[in-house]
């Protein structure tokens, strides 16, 4: 959005560098140079180190680790639980965003502020709190087990609950601004043309929110796949049952099995990058089609 002021140099020569537009503002070289140097040192170099370690494993060893039953089970749990949690979060996240944007009721501002709690609360704190709540003798755990016969704490279901906690704000905060910007007039047009409220919501509003909902889902899912701190307290971390992939990386590291840790991390990283790419494409799509971010 910045406005380039000068396109030719003062002495009439054509612009020298074509890869950027000239500007009167100083500090481009310094700020970009520092940005790239710091980025390379802190982020790119360490990640490259992981890629080199993974490459030095060789295909056979890599696949042997990746398809080890315990590793497969952990990856399946991480992705499955993250998927389930993201689905629940998408449903309730859209509902919460809707209520926060469209309705006025006492305590709405408090509720709005509370949505960000999982962003601000350290995962270890959330972990021990959730473990206490959903433990078989905890306030929620006892009710769930005695009344519904469902065991949440110290089981695979506990993983899903922890991931629901950490992922919820991603959906709400992605959907909320889009919902705020939706033109109420289109709803009025739809109503005037005879559509019932349900039809207006499902045929007019939801399609316009769809890219945002999908982005929120993807962000919540991506966060869930990598989550560690909140999960390890509420799950009992049994192999093949409630052991998530990040925990298995930690276990391999404790056993000084660097190859194993590297292989699992690489699989998770590749999938995370694919997710990041998909999220970026979704947001570009959203901008292009609906003019909002």
């Amino acid at each position: 959005m910045s406005t380039p002021a000068i396109t030719a140099q003062p002495d009439g020569k054509p612009p020298r560098a074509k890869w950027r537009r000239r500007s009167v503002l100083p500090g481009f070289g310094l700020s970009l140079g520092y940005t790239i140097a710091y980025l390379s040192l802190i982020v790119l170099l360490p990640l490259a180190g992981l890629a080199i370690s993974a490459a030095s494993l060789g295909w056979n060893e890599f696949w042997a680790i990746a398809f080890d039953p315990r590793v497969s089970a952990a990856l399946q749990l991480s992705f499955g639980a993250a998927m389930l949690a993201a689905v629940v979060n998408t449903v309730f996240g859209v509902l919460i965003a809707w209520v926060l944007v469209r309705y006025r009721f006492p305590g709405r501002r408090w509720l709005d502020a509370a949505v960000d709690l999982p962003f601000a609360l350290p995962t270890a704190v959330a972990g021990i709190a959730l473990a206490t709540l959903y433990a078989p003798n905890g306030p929620f755990g006892a009710v769930l087990e005695n009344v519904f016969g469902v065991k949440v704490g110290f089981s695979a279901l506990g993983v899903v609950f922890a991931l629901m906690f950490v992922g919820l704000p991603f959906v709400v905060r992605t959907v909320q601004p889009v919902l705020e910007e939706i033109d109420r007039e289109t709803e009025e047009v739809s109503a005037t043309l005879g559509a019932g409220r349900f039809r207006t919501v499902t045929r007019v509003i939801l399609p316009a929110m769809f890219p945002a909902i999908l982005t929120g889902f993807a962000l919540s899912f991506a966060r869930g796949v990598g989550e560690y701190g909140s999960v390890i307290f509420i799950a009992n971390n049994l192999p093949f049952e409630s052991e998530i992939a990040p925990l298995l990386i930690v276990i391999k590291l404790d056993e000084h099995n660097y190859a194993g840790a590297t292989a699992i991390a690489t699989i998770m990283l590749v999938i995370a990058f694919v997710m990041l790419f998909v999220i970026n494409v979704l947001q570009a799509w959203s901008r292009k089609w609906f003019g909002h971010e």
Partner: protein, 289 residues
């Protein structure tokens, strides 16, 4: 008259929901947020004081807690300013200039958000561990990075890397650069322009980014857990200390320490809400974490 009112009511319902639907939706949202978010927060404070105020204060003032607190503060005091300088530099380059590859650079800045905390820790173990290329050299020169403070700082910087940049970039893009161009054409230097023109315009967004970055830096668990080695009194941060206490069956002490971090989270959220209510325009509309 009454048929007119009825028609108006029907129209209203056509572009909104009826009072019953409304009440049900609000109740559902409240119930979900109450169970999922508020209950865990309340549990932290209830359990922290569950064994009495005495246990609470004893847990907070124990030597291990104090040293964990000191380390957490030290790590945040290094990581947050480091990412602050980076965030400002990145925002200046990206928001004030047009160049090729900008979108790609933004994606790279987002990378740490996509990486699992455990993997973020692992990359530093692979880089500086005994098995790495650097390992023997570091060992020979008696430089300790892994299982020591430098490793914890590096992992924390990695995890909190995008926070401030991500907050500043959209905000500075939104504001354009006409004010800075005016300052420069009137003869102000680059630093003067930044401190007198740009900084006042973005200070609230910057503060918000710093707060988020700080909350995450003090609360990071997974990445720090991998690189710290869990040496009590030496490389234990507050979140790691919570884990140890909890697994030692000292739940009340664990929750007492946890309540400190929960309080930090509440302060962060409160300041955020105040900033958003007061300076809605000077905080970026679009936000990702």
């Amino acid at each position: 008259m009454s048929s007119n009112a009825a028609q108006k009511n029907r129209q209203k319902q056509a572009i909104g929901e009826g009072p019953i639907t409304r009440a049900i939706l609000i109740a559902l949202a409240l119930a979900f947020l109450g169970v999922m978010l508020i209950a865990p927060l309340l549990v932290v404070f209830i359990e922290a004081f569950g064994r009495g105020v005495g246990v609470f204060f004893d847990s907070l003032t124990s030597p291990h807690t104090m040293s964990a607190l000191q380390l957490t503060l030290l790590v945040a005091a290094i990581a947050v300013p480091a990412n602050l300088v980076f965030g400002v530099a990145a925002a200046w380059a990206i928001a004030k200039f047009d160049f090729r590859g900008k979108a790609f650079l933004l994606t790279l800045i987002d990378l740490p958000f996509a990486v699992s905390p455990v993997v973020s820790g692992l990359v530093f173990v692979l880089l500086f561990g005994a098995n790495s290329a650097l390992g023997p050299w570091l060992d020979a020169n008696n430089i300790k990075i892994l299982f020591a403070v430098p490793g914890i700082v590096l992992a924390t910087i990695f995890i909190t890397f995008p926070f401030i940049a991500r907050e500043l970039i959209p905000l500075m893009q939104q504001q354009g650069s006409s004010e800075e161009e005016a300052a420069v054409s009137l003869g102000a230097g680059g630093w003067r322009t930044f401190f007198l023109v740009t900084l006042p315009n973005v200070k609230w967004g910057l503060l918000y980014g710093v707060l988020l970055c700080n909350a995450r830096a003090m609360g990071e668990f997974g990445a720090v857990s991998v690189v710290s080695g869990h040496i009590r009194g030496q490389t234990n941060t507050l979140p790691l200390h919570i884990e140890i206490l909890y697994h030692d069956n000292k739940a009340a002490a664990a929750f007492a320490v946890a309540s400190l971090l929960a309080l930090l989270a509440l302060v962060t959220l409160a300041v955020k809400s105040i900033l958003e209510a007061r300076f809605a325009g000077s905080l970026a509309a679009q936000r990702r974490h």
